[in-house]
């Protein structure tokens, strides 16, 4: 009954796109080289050692981390965006709705102010993203017992607070070294991700996407309204906070790894909804796959367009706007 065709197509497409994007870069290699290297690395193909080392350096050490990061982060942002849209019953919500981006930017900037240590920057970004969302949720509970509208308001307040604190950090930052670093981070970049970081982030992100997908039917009911979901036997408060926790965790991980990458979490779920409809148990995994593809594509453009790499956040915005307009044009009849 479940539509399998889009998933099969996306799986094939993602595999191909991953292989192709490993060939893209300053030192040109062909897709045959990637294939030969893959065979050689599992011992099925003989290759001269110096050639093997060159390809290993290019593919595994330079290109694979960012390709894996693009796949994982695209999946994380798109599926958390779709989950937030269901929780808030609003197709215009993005992962930033509860203040996760504001918190992460403040944390990252603070880290750069204290020291340039990359681990500190990432840890602070992650910690502040979670702090900002928790703060928003606490406000929501003080305001209106955690209703949807109270959560939106709590997110706005929390986001504004952390954005203000970001401004303070920017103001105090050294304008020759620290400030440009902060601004650059805010634009998002996959360039400085390392393979072991991707490895750490992969497990929680994949678990998160699977967890969100398993909550799909509960999310469908939840999007019809709290009372209706409860009368259908769904433990509304528990599901809502569990989903918020999972979606926040994976989006905070993404942002702390690569900085701000906008539009993926907003546009991709709409696109996926056009393809498979609104049922979250199908929509969430497909959003993850389309998000992965989208970011892989954006990263390829970021690398290819000019010799100096363009921050990927700028690319996703430039690509996201026309895509969003197109999708809204196609989807508008559903809102009447």
């Amino acid at each position: 009954m479940v539509k399998q065709k889009p998933f099969v197509l996306m799986a094939v497409g993602l595999t191909l796109a991953t292989a192709i994007s490993l060939t893209i870069g300053r030192y040109p290699i062909g897709i045959g080289d990637v294939w030969a290297f893959a065979l050689a690395s599992v011992g099925l193909h003989a290759m001269p050692p110096d050639r093997y080392d060159l390809l290993h350096n290019l593919i595994v050490e330079i290109r694979l981390p960012r390709v894996m990061a693009a796949l994982l982060i695209g999946a994380a942002l798109a599926s958390s965006g779709a989950a937030f849209q269901a929780i808030f019953r609003n197709p215009l919500v993005s992962p930033g709705v509860l203040g996760v981006l504001g918190g992460a930017s403040f944390g990252a900037a603070l880290g750069m102010l204290i020291s340039g240590n990359w681990v500190l920057v990432q840890s602070l970004a992650f910690a502040m993203a979670l702090t900002a969302v928790s703060f928003g949720v606490v406000i929501a509970n003080l305001l209106g017992r955690g209703s949807t509208i109270a959560l939106v308001l709590g997110g706005i307040i929390s986001g504004a607070l952390f954005t203000a604190m970001l401004s303070i950090v920017k103001y105090t930052a050294d304008p020759y070294n620290q400030l440009p670093a902060i601004v650059y981070w805010l634009m998002g970049s996959l360039g400085s991700v390392e393979l072991h970081e991707v490895g750490y982030a992969a497990v929680p992100i994949l678990v998160g996407v699977v967890g969100l997908t398993m909550s799909g039917r509960a999310l469908d009911a939840l999007s019809m309204g709290d009372d209706e979901a409860r009368s259908l036997g769904v433990p509304v408060t528990r599901v809502r906070y569990a989903v918020i926790a999972m979606a926040t965790l994976i989006s905070a991980l993404s942002v702390s790894l690569v900085g701000m990458i906008g539009w993926v979490g907003l546009v991709v779920p709409h696109f996926a909804r056009l393809v498979v409809g609104p049922l979250n148990s199908v929509l969430l995994p497909l959003s993850a796959m389309i998000g992965a593809m989208f970011l892989l594509f954006a990263d390829a453009i970021a690398r290819m367009l000019t010799t100096a790499e363009i921050p990927i956040g700028i690319i996703t915005e430039l690509l996201g706007i026309p895509a969003f307009m197109l999708v809204l044009h196609r989807a508008r009849r559903a809102w009447a």
């Binding site: 019809m224 036997g233 909804r273 409809g277 609104p278 559903a334």
Partner: protein, 275 residues
């Protein structure tokens, strides 16, 4: 078979839904004051009352969505508080007022949500669930709408969809919030017929309504709710009198008995003071 059920309802069989001296406070105000109401198998009970009388609150309380500050709600002699959300959902189904969904679910998707209590929210729908949905759609007479988008069909079709979803829960009790509001005359008749069928199968139906005519036509009993109190509870002919309508809505009516045993009301226009 049917007669046995009817006798059972009036005899010693436990009531399918019973509110016992339910009180509910909200923001310091007493919204429900010792409200008691019982509904047996095969009964359709209409709840009539002015805006703000506490109808919606009483419905939320009997659905287990609001916890009474005193008193209790029982289904088949089991207090709701002893049941989990899911167990309540298998016994009591809620048909909300017609609304718009934020996402373009199909009618089939919406009705399939009614299978959630049975399978649990974290399991996927089984083939049996899908079969049941098809049966229910057929039974309510909206199989032709199955693949239409819920946000694109008429109010009457949405109301039937929500009733079908409630039925997919296989409940013994249906609670409906103003099932007739916003429906055209034809759909009002269809909904009334479906509700009568569902009651005849041994379910208990409780609904709130603003329409005394509809209440008269369909109900086996009518309860009048005024400022949080059940002021009267009995057969339609007994309850719906000229005095009751004046008391409830502050409207003067004339009452006519119809040959079918029902009663109709015609509003007496107020004389203008200046003319």
């Amino acid at each position: 078979m049917k007669d046995q059920r009817m006798n059972g309802a009036q005899g010693e069989a436990p009531l399918l839904l019973e509110a016992r001296d339910v009180c509910f406070r909200y923001a310091g105000r007493e919204v429900l004051k010792r409200a008691s109401l019982g509904i047996g198998a095969g009964e359709i009970v209409s709840l009539l009352g002015a805006n703000g009388a506490g109808k919606s609150t009483l419905l939320r309380v009997v659905l287990g969505l609001a916890v009474p500050s005193a008193g209790e709600v029982l289904t088949e002699a089991v207090p709701l508080q002893r049941l989990s959300r899911r167990e309540i959902a298998k016994r009591i189904a809620y048909v909300p007022q017609v609304h718009a969904a934020p996402f373009p679910y199909t009618v089939r998707d919406v009705v399939l949500m009614g299978r959630l209590p049975d399978s649990g929210a974290f399991r996927s729908a089984s083939a049996r669930d899908r079969e049941m949905v098809a049966e229910v759609l057929d039974r309510i007479g909206i199989a032709f709408l199955a693949d239409r988008v819920y946000t694109e069909i008429s109010g009457g079709e949405r109301q039937l969809t929500l009733i079908a979803r409630a039925l997919a829960q296989e409940p013994r009790v249906l609670v409906l919030d103003e099932p007739m509001s916003g429906l055209d005359y034809g759909y009002q008749a269809i909904v009334a017929d479906r509700l009568r069928d569902l009651a005849a199968d041994g379910r208990a139906i409780l609904m709130s309504t603003h329409d005394p005519h509809f209440a008269m036509e369909i109900s086996s009993r009518i309860a009048l709710l005024e400022r949080g109190r059940i002021e009267a509870d009995g057969t339609p002919r007994h309850i719906l009198t000229v005095e009751a309508i004046r008391e409830l809505y502050h409207v003067d009516v004339e009452c006519f008995d119809l040959p079918n045993g029902h009663r109709t009301f015609v509003r007496v226009p107020k004389r203008r003071s200046r003319s």
